[in-house]
Symmetry: D2
Subunit: 345 residues, 4 copies
C-alpha cells in the first residue's frame, strides 16, 4: 500500500501523554505527518520546536479550521474529551481520543453519533489491545486454544511512589482513567461476550489521609459476563517496582497470560539473587503498543476502514466503570442494565 | 535433637490423600513411624502391606485404643473430621486433621476446645504454608520487603479435565474444601490482619448441566481485611494444564509471588515454541510441602510446642468459607461478624 | 535536535535483508529518507514500488552518481562488500555495510582507510549491539555489576529446518557471516579487552552428506582475551524452535545474560504444559535492534560523530573469524598475532 | 516392595559432604539405616551423636569388620577413594563412592574389577543425573524430542566468594573434582555416544596470585563425541550469586535445558526490579538429587540390580578429565585413545 500522500495529524493537548504521542506520530509512524500542535500553554511551542512542527495554536478551533489537517489526536484532560470529539467531527476531522472518550454514557452516545454522522474515523486510546502480548493472547483465544473463557484477570498498577496531590485528582479517576483500560482489556479478551454485573471494592490505602475527600487509590472490581465468565480487575496508583500491567484468561481449554513487566531480556545474577529490570513508565513498557495504535489509526483514515477500537468499545468500558463507581459507593453489585436505563431516562 | 524414640502415628482414612500421607510419614519423615492404618475398606490392608505397617483396623476406635499410638492423621471425608478430632483428643492422641477441620463454626469450636482440654497437638492440613515459595513469600513479608499488604491474590485450580460426578460432591465443596486453602493462604500472607467481609461469585461453568442441583465448580471470592487489604481468591475444578496454585501479595513496598506450576527446571524448545512441564497433581507439586507439614507435626509432638497451623487458623478460614457460601447464594457481601454471631446464637 | 533536512539514503542490494533494511529506513527511521534502490534484478523495482522510492537503478555506480544521496546501505553478498565500500567512499557517500565488511584483513584495512580518507561515516551491521538486552548487559558491565569478565558465551542459531543448498554457501560462511556476530558481541561485552587466541571446532552435522565439499553448519569456537577472559561462541544453521541468539557474561562480581527468544510476553498454558512463542526470524526478534542501528547511522551522519560500530570493530571480529577458519582446518589453536602477521606480509 | 529389613550403611569420612550424606541416609532414605560412622577426627563423634548412630570408629577397617554393615558411603578426600573402594569390596561391602572414584585410569580399572570380583554394587556420586531437571532432560532426549544431539553445554560454578587456600587444593582439582560432574552430565545427556577428543583452557582468574603454583580456578573444556556432537563444559570456583549448575542439549529436533538456580518459586518485585532467590549451596540446590541417589543405591543393594551410575561411567568421565588436564598444559587437543593407551602401557 502506498503511504503517499501522508495522513496529516494535529495534536490537541501537549501534556505528558500528548508529547509522547506527538513524538511517535511525528517520527515513527510511516505515512503520518504531525502538522499542528494546539495547547493553551507554552508546551505547545516547545513540543512543536522539538519535532519541527510548523503550526502552533493556542486553541483547538484554530487547528480544526486548518484544511490540511486530516485528523486530530485528543490528549487533553479526560473531562474535555467528548466536547472535543464533537468539535472535531463537526469539522470533518478524523479523531483519535485518549481514554476515557466520555465520562457519562450520554456523552459517549453523543460522541459516537457525531463521528458516525460526520463519517469520520473515531478511535479510542485503549493501547493494551495493541501490545504484543495482549494481541498474541487474543489470537490464541481466537484460535480456540483457551476454550471458553471462565476466569479473567486484568491488572494495572501505576509506577510508584505515588507523588500526585490527591486533591487534584477528580473523583472516580481510578475507575474512569485507570481501570477503564482493564475493563476494555477484559472485553477484548472475552470476545463476543457482554458484561452484565459489576461489584467494586475501593479504598485509599496509599493515602489514607485523603480518603475523607473521596480519594481512592486501590481497587478490585469483579465483572460477570453473559457467557458466564467471571473477571477481576485490579488497580493501584503506586507500584514501587514499576509499571505493571498484566492479563490472564483461564478457560475450558487452557490459560493464556500477557504482560511481564520486563524492560528488556537482560537478566542480572548478583550477590542478592537474580534480578530483572522492570519498566518504569507506560510510555516505555507500551511503546510498541502506542506506536501500533497510531499506525492503525493512520491506516483506518487512509483506507476508510473502521477503527480497530471504536466508540462503542469505549462506551462498553465506560458502562463498567460507571457501574463500578456506583458499586464502590453502595457496597452492592450493580447490573449494567440499570446503568443503561439511567442513561436512557 | 534426638529423634528417638520415634513418634508413632496412625492413619485414619486410606483414600487417595491418606495413602499419600501414609507413604510420606512411613518412609520420609525422620523420627516418625506409621504404626497403624484404619479404614473401613480393603484399602487399609493394601496400604499397610505396601508400607509394612503391622496394625490394620476397620474402625477408628480400635486404633485409638492402641496405647503405643502417639498421634493420628485424619484423612477421611470432610464431614467426618470434627467427630474424629473429638474422639482422638478424648483418647489423648495428638491430631493432624486434613482441611476442613470442621464445616460449622460450632464444630470448629468443639474441636479446638477438645484438643485444648486434652492437651494434645492439633494441626490442620493447610499444606501451602509449608510450600517453599509460600514460606519464602511470608519471610519476605515478615522482613518488610513488601511493606503493608494492599492487594492479595490466591488461586487454586485442580487439574483437569474434571471427571468427577457432580452428584457426589457435597454442596459448598468449592468453598469448604478447595478455596479454604486460599482463605488460609491469604491470612498467612497478611500476617496479623483479620478478614472482615466477603463477597463471592460462583457458577457451574465446567458442568453447567449440573447447576440446577447446586453444583458449583468455578468461583471468585473477595475478602476485605481489617488492615485495608483487599484479597481475591479464585478456584476452578478443571485446569487442563495441571495443578495450579499461586499467590501474589502487593504492598506499599513491592510485590511477592509464589507458585509457578513447574514440574522441574527442565525447559524444552521445540518446533511449537518453548515448553515447560507442569505438575499434574497436588501430591507432585506440593510433595515438599506435605512432607514439611508432617515433619512439623512430628516435631510439635516431640517437643510439646504448638502446631504451626492451629485449630484457630482453621476456624478463621472456615468463617471466610461460610461467608462466601452465603454471599454466593444471596449475591450480597457478608460480614464475618454476622457469621460469628450466628454461631453464638 | 532538528531532523530536517532528512538524511537521504540509498539501498545497494535488494535481497531479503536489504528489503528489511529498506522498509525500516523508508518508514520507521525518523529523519531518514530512502531515495534510491540499486539491484541488478527486478527486486529493485518491486521494493521501490512498495516503498514509494522514485529512483531505481540496476548499477551501484548510477546510485553513487546521484548528488542528493548522502549515504548508502550495502546489503549485497558478502564478497562484494569491500569493493562497494571503496566505491561509496570514493563518491563521498557515508556507508552502512552489512557484516562482514571484508573477508580478508587486507580488505578490511582498505575499507577503513578509504572511509577515513574520504571523511565519511563507516558503520558495520553488528545489530546485536543495539538489541535492548545486549545494550542493557553492556550497561551493567560498564556499571561494574559483573566485575571483571571471566567467562563469556555468545550463541547464534539460525531458524530451521535448514533448507539452503550447501553448494551455494561459500566456504567459511559459518565463521564469516554467522559467528562474526558472536565474535563482535564477545568483544562488545568484554570492553577494552583484545582477543588473543582462537580454537575452533566445526562440522557438517545438519548435512553430513555435504561435508566432503567443505560444508560446515555447526561450530564451537573458544576465544581467549588479553584480560584472561575465556569466551565460547556457538553456531548452528538449524534451530527447529526459531532464531536463537543469546549472550552470557560471567565475572568476578556476578553474571549477566541477554536474549530469551520470546516473540512476545504472552505465555500459553495448555494440555502439553506451558508454552512460549519463539521468534522465527532475525528480522522479527531483532527488529528493534535493526531500527536502532539505522537511527544511530543517521544520527552519526547528521551530527558528524563517529559510528557506534566502526571498521576497526569489523576488522577485530574478522580477525577472530579468520583465526577460527584456520583453527578448524588445522585442529590447533591460532594466535591472532599470527593472523595479523600474515596480513602484513 | 518391602523395605524390611533395612539396608545398613556406614559412612566413611565425616566432612562437609559426608555429614550431608549421613543426615540424608539416616533420616530421609526409606529402608536405609545409618549404623556406623568412621572418621579419624572428632567429627565422627559429633555427627554420630547428632544422628543417633551407635557405632563410631576412627578407622575404616573397624567399620568394614562389622558384619551388620551392608554397604559404605565413601566421602573422604579424592585421592583416598580407590583404596577405600578396594578395601570395602574386599570386605564384601557395597560401595557408594563420591566422585572422583579414582584419579588415574589404572585405579579406575582396579576399582571396577574389585567390585565386579566381589559381586558388590559400586555406585559413583554423579548427583546431577538424579536432579529432576537433568532427569527430565534425559527423558526428553530418550523420547526423541531433541533429535540427534549436536551441541551440548554443562556448567558448574561453585558459590562465591572463593575463600579456600589455593595451596591446599591439589593440582587438577577443577578437572578431577568439579568438571568431572560436567563430563559425566555430558555423557548422560548424549546417550550412547563416546567422547573422542578434548581441548581445555584453564586459568587462575579468581586468584591470579596463585597461578605460579599451578592453581587453576576457571576452565572451559570442549569435548568431541563419536556421534559428531560438540560439547562445552565450563567451571568457576566463585559465582557470587550462588551455586550455578546448568545443562543445555541442542539437537536436530530441538533443545532442552536444565537448571535454573532458583532456591524457590518465590519472586520478589521491588524498587530495584524483579528478584529471585538463588541457591547458595549444592546441598541446598541438589538436595533432591542427593536424596534420589541414595534411594537408588539402597534399592540396588536390596534388589541386586546394577547401580544407575557405574564404575565404567566414572572411568569415562575420568578419562575426559585426564585429557583435559593434559590439554590445558600442552595447549593442544588430546585424543581419548591416547589417554587410554597410556594407561595400558
Amino acid at each position: 500500500m502506498s503511504l503517499n500522500p501522508p495522513v496529516r495529524l494535529a495534536l490537541v493537548g501537549a501534556g505528558r501523554i500528548g508529547s509522547n504521542h506527538a513524538e511517535l506520530v511525528a517520527r515513527h509512524v510511516p505515512g503520518a505527518e504531525l502538522v499542528a500542535v494546539a495547547d493553551p500553554t507554552p508546551n505547545a511551542e516547545r513540543l512543536a520546536a522539538d519535532l519541527g512542527v510548523a503550526v502552533v495554536e493556542r486553541s483547538v478551533e484554530a487547528v480544526l479550521a486548518q484544511p490540511d489537517v486530516d485528523g486530530v489526536l485528543i490528549t487533553t484532560p479526560a473531562r474535555t474529551h467528548t466536547d472535543l470529539v464533537l468539535q472535531a467531527a463537526a469539522a470533518g476531522k478524523h479523531v483519535f481520543v485518549e481514554k476515557p472518550m466520555a465520562v457519562t454514557l450520554a456523552d459517549a452516545d453523543r460522541a459516537i453519533a457525531a463521528a458516525r454522522d460526520a463519517g469520520v474515523v473515531l478511535q479510542v486510546g485503549f493501547n493494551r489491545r495493541f501490545a504484543p502480548g495482549w494481541a498474541a493472547a487474543r489470537a490464541a483465544i481466537d484460535a480456540g486454544k483457551v476454550g471458553a473463557p471462565q476466569l479473567l484477570r486484568s491488572v494495572t498498577r501505576d509506577p510508584g511512589p505515588f507523588s500526585a496531590d490527591p486533591g487534584q485528582i477528580p473523583p472516580g479517576t481510578i475507575f474512569l482513567e485507570t481501570l477503564i483500560h482493564d475493563f476494555d482489556a477484559l472485553c477484548f479478551l472475552n470476545p463476543g461476550a457482554r458484561p452484565l454485573r459489576v461489584t467494586a471494592l475501593a479504598d485509599a490505602l496509599i493515602r489514607p489521609d485523603a480518603k475523607h475527600s473521596g480519594h481512592l487509590d486501590t481497587a478490585v472490581v469483579t465483572v460477570e459476563f453473559d457467557n458466564g465468565a467471571i473477571a477481576t480487575a485490579e488497580a493501584s496508583f503506586s507500584a514501587l517496582y514499576g509499571y505493571d500491567v498484566r492479563a490472564e484468561v483461564f478457560g475450558s481449554g487452557g490459560m493464556v497470560t500477557a504482560g511481564d513487566g520486563r524492560a528488556s531480556d537482560m537478566t542480572y545474577y548478583g550477590p542478592d539473587g537474580i534480578g530483572i529490570d522492570t519498566a518504569r513508565r507506560d510510555t516505555e513498557l507500551l511503546r510498541d503498543a502506542y506506536l501500533a495504535e497510531f499506525v492503525a489509526f493512520t491506516s483506518a483514515i487512509r483506507s476508510g476502514t473502521p477503527a480497530p477500537v471504536t466508540g462503542e468499545d469505549a462506551r462498553t468500558a465506560l458502562s463498567v466503570a460507571l457501574a463500578a463507581i456506583r458499586s464502590a459507593s453502595t457496597g452492592a453489585a450493580v447490573k449494567l442494565a440499570d446503568i443503561a436505563l439511567e442513561v436512557a431516562s
